[in-house]
C-alpha cells in the first residue's frame, strides 16, 4: 500500500535518486539514495556498513557507469580489496580501470602533535583530487568517525565535518558516510547532526542462536520510504534486502489449469488440476506420501516441458531419486534434461533469511514454472512464528508474481490438531490437500482429501491413497454404515458386496428359467389341444365327403341301371342333367 502511494505521488515531486543496485534497497527507498546528497549509514560493529558502502560504489561503477571514491579510515586498500573480493566484487579490477579510487587515510594519534590552529583542508584536497582524477559521482567515507580518535581537537573537527558535508553537496556527489552506532544516539559522535538527508540504520541481532541482520531507513528527507525494519543478508553476491511490504497483492492470475500427475486427483479438483501460479499446501503426518505426490507433480510438469525446482530440507537429492525409483518414478532423466533441479539444505544450516535469499537466488537463476518446498515446516524451526509467516508471505508473493506454481508440503505430528499447526500458513494457500493415516483392522492406510481449493469445484470425498511399485493411485474409500473402510477392510467389504450381488443374480436367473419352462409347458399343452381339435375337424370333413360321394354314386348307379333296363332315355337324361346341375341334397 505504501509503495502504491509513493508510486502515484512521486512523479509530481520527484527527488533525484541514485540507484544503489543493491537488491531490495532501491525498492525500499523508492529508487535509491538521494542523488547529490550525503547519506548516513550507521550500525554497530560487524553489521555490514563497509560492505554496503563498497557495494554502492562497485555497483555504481559497474552497473550505472558512475565512478566512485572510497575513502577508508579503518582498512587499508589491500585489506578492502581482499574483503570485498570474497563477496564477488572485483574492486581491484575497477581500481585498475579507473572506475574506483581508494584512499586510505590513517593518522596515528601517538605520532601526531597538535600545535595551534589548523583545518582539514588536507582531507578536502585528497578527496577532491580523488574525485577529480576519475570523475567520481559517488563517494564513500568509511568510517569518518575514526577521525575523532585521531584528532584531539573536537571543536575543530566538528566545524570541519560540517564544512565537509556542505562541500560534498556542492560537489554534487552522492555520498555514503558510515558511522558506529552510539549508545543513546544513532551515531557515537552525533554525525546525524550533519547528515540530515537520509539515515539508514543497520542492525545485527541474535534470536535463538540465529543471527538476523536488519535494515531500516530512519529518515529520508523529501521522499516516501518503507519505514519498517527489513531483514537483509550478506550472501556471496553482496547485500540483499528483502522487503516484505514492497510486494503488493496485484499480481496477475491465470485461468490455466495444470495436471497434478495423478489423474484421480485431477478429477477431484474439478477434472483439471490446480491453477497455474497458485500456492498449494500438502499437509500430512509422517509417511503419508507427501514427497511422492510432490515428485509426481514434478514429473507432470516435466511432461509439459516445464522446469521444477525442488527444495528439499530433509532428504538429499540422491535419496529422493532412489526412493522415487522404488515406486517406478524415474527422476534422474528429468534432472539430466534440466527439467528438474534439487536444492537440498538442512534447515539449521543458516537462518531463515539466508534460506529465503538462497531460495530467491535459485529461483532467479533456474527460472522454474513449478517450485516444490519439502517440507516448509522444517524451515519453521529456523525462526519464530511471525518471522516464518513473513517469510512464507514473501515467498508466496514472489512466486505468484512470477506465475510460479508452488507446492508446499507440511509435516504435522500425529495426534496434533491438523488445522492448528498450519493456521498461520493456510490462509496464504489457494489449495490445501490433506493426507492422513487411518488406523484400524490391524493396519494403517493412507487417505487423501481436498480441504480447500479456491476458485474451483472440488470433490468432498475421501479417497484412499495407494502406493504401489507402479506409482500411486487413488481409489474410492468405502463409506458405509460402519464408517470409512480402507485397505483390507474395504476389500473385504467389496467382496462381500460382490458375493451378494452374485447371489441375487443367480436367483433371478433361476426364476427366469422356471418361468420359461412354464411357458414352454403351456405352449406344448396348447399345441396338443390344437392337434386334437384338428384331428376332429379332419374327421368331420372326411365324413361329410363320404356322405356326398355315396349320394352321387347312388344316383349314377340308378341311372346306369335304368339304361341297362332301357328305360325312358329322356327322363333318364333329364335326371342325369338334374343331378349334374342341381345341388345334391
Amino acid at each position: 500500500m505504501k509503495t502504491n502511494r509513493s508510486k502515484s505521488t512521486s512523479p509530481v515531486t520527484r527527488l533525484p535518486k541514485c540507484p544503489t543496485g543493491i537488491q531490495g534497497l532501491d525498492e525500499i527507498t523508492g529508487g535509491g539514495l538521494p542523488r547529490g546528497r550525503p547519506t548516513l549509514v550507521c550500525g554497530s560493529a560487524g553489521c555490514g556498513k563497509t560492505l554496503l558502502g563498497a557495494e554502492f560504489l562497485v555497483r555504481g561503477a559497474a552497473q550505472f557507469n558512475e565512478p566512485g571514491v572510497l575513502m577508508a579510515f579503518e582498512e587499508t586498500e589491500a585489506e578492502l580489496k581482499a574483503n570485498v573480493a570474497s563477496l564477488g566484487f572485483d574492486l581491484a579490477g575497477l581500481v585498475r580501470s579507473k572506475k574506483i579510487a581508494i584512499d586510505y587515510v590513517h593518522i596515528e594519534r601517538s605520532e601526531v602533535q597538535e600545535s595551534g590552529e589548523y583545518d582539514l583542508e588536507g582531507l578536502f584536497v585528497r578527496l577532491g583530487h580523488a574525485i577529480d582524477s576519475i570523475g567520481a559521482k559517488r563517494v564513500v567515507l568509511d568510517t569518518l568517525e575514526a577521525l575523532f580518535a585521531s584528532l584531539p581537537n573536537e571543536a575543530i573537527l566538528r566545524a570541519e565535518l560540517r564544512r565537509l558535508f556542505r562541500w560534498l553537496k556542492d560537489k554534487g556527489v552522492t555520498a555514503v558516510i558510515t558511522a558506529e552506532r552510539g549508545r543513546e544516539q544513532l551515531t557515537r559522535h552525533g554525525l546525524e547532526e550533519y547528515v540530515s538527508d537520509c539515515v539508514i540504520l543497520l542492525d545485527h541481532r541474535v534470536n535463538d542462536q540465529i543471527a538476523t541482520r536488519n535494515l531500516r531507513v530512519v529518515k529520508y528527507r523529501g521522499a516516501q520510504h518503507g519505514t519498517n525494519e527489513f531483514p537483509f543478508l550478506i550472501g556471496d553476491e553482496g547485500i540483499s534486502v528483502l522487503p516484505i511490504t514492497s510486494l503488493g497483492l496485484n499480481h496477475k492470475v491465470s485461468n490455466e489449469r495444470i495436471a497434478t500427475g495423478i489423474p484421480r486427483l485431477d478429477a477431484m479438483l474439478g477434472g483439471h488440476g490446480f491453477f497455474r501460479g497458485s500456492s498449494i499446501l500438502l499437509t500430512g503426518t509422517p509417511g503419508t506420501g507427501k514427497t511422492i505426490i510432490s515428485s509426481n507433480f514434478a514429473q507432470a510438469a516435466a511432461r509439459r516441458g516445464e522446469r521444477t525446482l525442488f527444495f528439499s530440507f530433509e532428504e538429499s537429492p540422491n535419496q529422493i531419486m532412489r526412493n522415487m525409483h522404488s515406486i517406478g518414478l524415474r527422476l534422474e532423466p528429468l534432472v539430466k534434461r534440466g527439467l528438474l533441479r534439487f536444492h537440498s539444505a538442512r534447515p539449521s544450516l543458516y537462518g531463515l533469511e539466508m534460506h529465503l535469499a538462497t531460495m530467491f537466488k535459485e529461483i532467479v537463476t533456474f527460472q522454474p514454472q513449478v517450485v516444490i518446498i519439502d517440507p516448509i515446516t522444517s524451515l519453521m524451526d529456523a525462526g519464530t512464528d511471525s518471522e516464518c509467516r513473513g517469510m512464507v508471505t514473501r515467498l508466496v508473493d514472489y512466486l505468484k508474481a512470477g506465475q510460479v506454481t508452488t507446492l508446499f508440503t507440511s509435516l504435522t505430528q500425529g495426534g496434533k490438531a491438523l488445522q492448528q499447526s498450519e493456521a498461520a500458513m493456510s490462509s496464504l494457500m489457494d489449495s490445501w490437500l490433506l493426507l492422513q493415516d487411518f488406523e484400524g483392522n490391524g493396519e494403517r492406510n493412507r487417505v487423501l482429501y481436498v480441504l480447500k481449493a479456491r476458485g474451483m469445484k472440488h470433490s468432498n470425498q475421501i479417497r484412499e491413497f495407494l502406493i504401489s511399485d507402479r506409482g500411486i493411485d487413488l481409489v474410492d474409500a468405502y463409506i458405509g454404515p460402519s464408517g470409512v473402510l480402507t485397505g483390507s477392510a474395504r476389500a473385504a467389504q467389496n467382496s462381500l458386496e460382490k458375493a451378494a450381488v452374485l447371489a441375487s443374480q443367480q436367483e433371478a436367473a433361476q426364476l427366469k428359467r422356471e418361468v420359461e419352462r412354464k411357458r414352454d409347458a403351456l405352449e406344448r399343452k396348447i399345441s396338443g389341444l390344437r392337434a386334437d381339435y384338428e384331428t376332429e375337424a379332419e374327421e368331420l370333413r372326411r365324413i361329410a365327403e363320404q356322405v356326398g360321394t355315396s349320394t352321387l354314386m347312388l344316383t349314377t348307379e340308378r341311372a346306369a341301371s335304368g339304361l341297362l333296363r332301357q328305360a325312358d332315355i329322356k327322363v333318364a337324361a333329364q335326371a342325369r342333367g338334374n343331378a349334374r346341375n342341381g345341388k345334391v341334397n
Partner: protein
C-alpha cells in the same frame, strides 16, 4: 649543546640532534595562515636547529597528489622526514612547547 652542534656538523654524528633535519611543511594555498605557519616553523628552526635543517614547503593547492603520501589531513602540517622516526605536527605551530614535544626536541633541547 648549541655550541656543540656548531662545532661539529660532521655527518658521522650519531645523535639525532646532530643530523640534518628534513622538514616538510604542507600548506593550503598562499594564505596568511600558511605564512604564519611558515614563519613559526622558520623561527623555531632558527632557534633550535640553526644551520642543520631544510624546510620544503608543499602547497597542496598545486600538488594535491602529494597529500596522500604523508597521510596529510590537516593543514598546515609539518612532517619531520629525517631524522627517523617520522613525526607529524599539525597546526600553525603557534605553541612552541608542543612543537618541541612534537619534534622530539624537548629531551635534548
Amino acid at each position: 649543546m648549541k655550541s656543540k652542534t656548531v662545532k661539529r656538523r660532521a655527518p658521522a654524528a650519531k645523535s639525532p640532534a646532530d643530523e640534518l633535519w628534513q622538514l616538510r611543511l604542507y600548506v593550503m594555498d598562499q594564505t596568511p595562515k600558511s605564512a604564519t605557519a611558515f614563519a613559526n616553523l622558520k623561527s623555531f628552526c632558527e632557534n633550535h636547529l640553526k644551520g642543520r635543517y631544510r624546510i620544503k614547503v608543499i602547497d597542496l593547492m598545486r600538488q594535491p597528489q602529494l597529500a596522500k603520501g604523508d597521510q596529510i589531513l590537516a593543514t598546515p602540517t609539518v612532517v619531520r622526514k629525517l631524522p627517523k622516526p617520522v613525526r607529524t605536527i599539525i597546526g600553525n605551530l603557534s605553541n612552541t612547547e608542543s612543537v618541541l614535544v612534537g619534534l622530539d626536541l624537548r629531551a635534548s633541547g
